[in-house]
Symmetry: C2
């Protein structure tokens, strides 16, 4: 058993593991390391996305930038959802303005069986990046990052970003055994990729199932849940002190099965109030979210009110990690993000405590 | 009071008005008149979208094509969401591969106040198209079509298709009075456009709020519901025998307030089972939907099973109009749509009757 270091345990970890109580609300932003920051655009000049993700010094610098600038309570490992697939040897490119493009879309048994495994040996650049980061981050926890099997499958099968995932869904429903074979491979890749980060010092991990919100709950449970569950449970076995955050956009219908797949923290987009997400997931999970990122261009008093609303709504959860309901849009004025961090730090714990007390009173009545 | 013509009343109208019982399930497909049909691509050659929508003979031909080919139970008026805005005199274009582009995005008080009204006199081409269509359709009902205020606003404010509607939402939350002024204007335009179609013989109307699923329920209720309600209630007053269908994609969180805005039929995308949509809307509304259009490329037995599942799930509604959960994708093999129509016609009423009987038994127990 691990010793209990509550005094030094970061707010993020306390919130993720249900030990937040009336303590501080940690805050970070999905895609905080990225195009909203001029210092990011500067260091990325002249390098492709995949090159950047493979360069430990650049990964470290980019991951640290929003921590320095905003004072967020966690760093999110700078990577791309395609990095583990590229590291496994799949021929792909990230085309600016388009997104990931796979040289040979993977649509039949032969292509699925020919997919390489991800060998831990090929992840030296990940281990190096994480080790360097952990040293420089000091007490600020690093969150590891990987795409979930459905989302990885959607890129491989479609061959490029898609609006409706028609090829992916057709494979899924018409050849369920082949689909399971594909997703089992991708679950191994996700697990290996997250494990490398956790082993090198990531204190939490986030499994992104970006596009799974395109499925109904019935299809999610039949074709996807087991594979995400494999990733989350293997991580839990190997790294029992590393909490697992699980998120996808537009997943209001899927919150319960996604939480049940083995997440400690369920990420929620802006469409579902956090209190409702707590209700849907049964009350046992911490929540992460969920300010609407499209509102970051609104005047500050409007944003501040929304931030407070999110905090009050999340107070019924055993833990609340403040975040947006999706990634930071590239055109965001980064000073707004800094102000949000300041506001959550200044008022968060008190707002949460008040809302918790009010909820308790309500439930006693 | 209007005489009751139940013998000649089309299945679509019976389903929409809660008189379906164990009778036939009407079927049509959103975007059935469009790029999935080779005969459509042929007649559209050399004409722009806006030209096509303004040409009564072409509108009639395109609207009739899927009725002839598939034997659907309703025609959907071939138009574009931007047509009433263009008819009002707003400078815009529909750019192939991009979508609607507004010459001057509408983002401040001056621009909103300068927006023209839609004069019924400028809708002669609509009256002509609908009249011609109604004559040629005979007993098959025509469904009129318009965009709802939020979706029209999103195009005007963003100036082009958007992923996150950031400008629209910023205006909405930061200048709510100005937003209301804009939406009140757009509600008048939608009402005028739908009224012209109903007056010329459309037997039902569908108010499309394509992008409203980007909002939380709280924002929908605060900023949008009243404006959609204005359109739906004015239509109901002027054309009490013309049922109103209301649909948006990704609106699982909004079904109750959208239905309450004054719809007879609530359109449901594929993420929410119809039975759950009935529960969320209180049981008083007919439902339309909701086969996942991304599955139209799956093998026929899979599609057939899904069609039967949708019918069984919709049986608890007082009326069910079979449809997809969103528009027909352009790459769809149209023979699949014809087979779906045949299947719904062959098995629909019996499947629905069985499921209704089972549900009744369940509720008695």
């Amino acid at each position: 058993m691990q010793p209990h270091h509550s005094a030094t345990e970061p707010a993020l970890i306390r919130a993720a593991t249900g030990k937040q109580g009336d303590g501080p609300i940690p805050v970070w932003f999905m895609r905080q390391a990225g195009r909203s920051l001029p210092e990011y655009r500067k260091v990325r000049e002249g390098t492709t996305m995949l090159q950047s993700c493979r360069d430990p010094e650049l990964v470290t610098e980019i991951t640290l930038q929003p921590v320095r600038r905003h004072g967020v309570d966690a760093a999110i490992f700078f990577s791309d959802i395609m990095v583990p697939l590229a590291a496994a040897g799949i021929d792909l490119d990230i085309v600016p303005g388009t997104g990931p493009v796979i040289a040979e879309p993977v649509r039949d048994a032969a292509a699925i069986r020919a997919l390489p495994e991800l060998e831990p040996d090929s992840l030296g650049f990940i281990t190096d990046s994480v080790s360097m980061l952990v040293e420089q981050l000091g007490p600020v926890p690093l969150i590891g990052f990987a795409g979930a099997p459905f989302t990885l499958a959607s890129y491989l099968v479609e061959g490029r970003p898609s609006r409706d995932y028609a090829h992916t869904k057709a494979l899924m429903v018409s050849e369920p055994e082949l689909w399971d074979e594909l997703c089992a491979k991708l679950a191994r890749i996700s697990t290996t990729f997250l494990s490398a980060q956790a082993a090198a010092g990531a204190r939490a991990v986030q499994l992104f199932d970006s596009w799974v919100g395109s499925l109904s709950a019935a299809d999610y449970e039949e074709f996807v849940a087991a594979h995400s569950s494999t990733v989350l449970h293997r991580l839990a076995e190997r790294f029992p002190t590393v909490p697992r955050i699980h998120f996808g956009v537009g997943t209001g219908e899927l919150l319960a099965p996604m939480a049940a797949a083995g997440a400690d923290v369920i990420g929620v987009d802006w469409r579902v109030p956090l209190a409702e997400a707590v209700r849907r997931t049964g009350g046992g999970h911490a929540v992460q979210g969920n300010l609407d990122p499209a509102l970051l261009g609104a005047p500050w008093p409007v944003i501040a009110d929304r931030v407070r609303e999110v905090i009050r709504s999340g107070a019924v959860a055993p833990g609340h990690i403040f975040n947006l309901g999706h990634g930071v849009p590239p055109q965001t004025d980064p000073t707004v993000l800094t102000r949000i961090v300041e506001l959550v730090h200044a008022e968060g714990a008190e707002l949460r405590a008040e809302a918790r007390a009010a909820a308790q009173k309500e439930s006693v009545r």
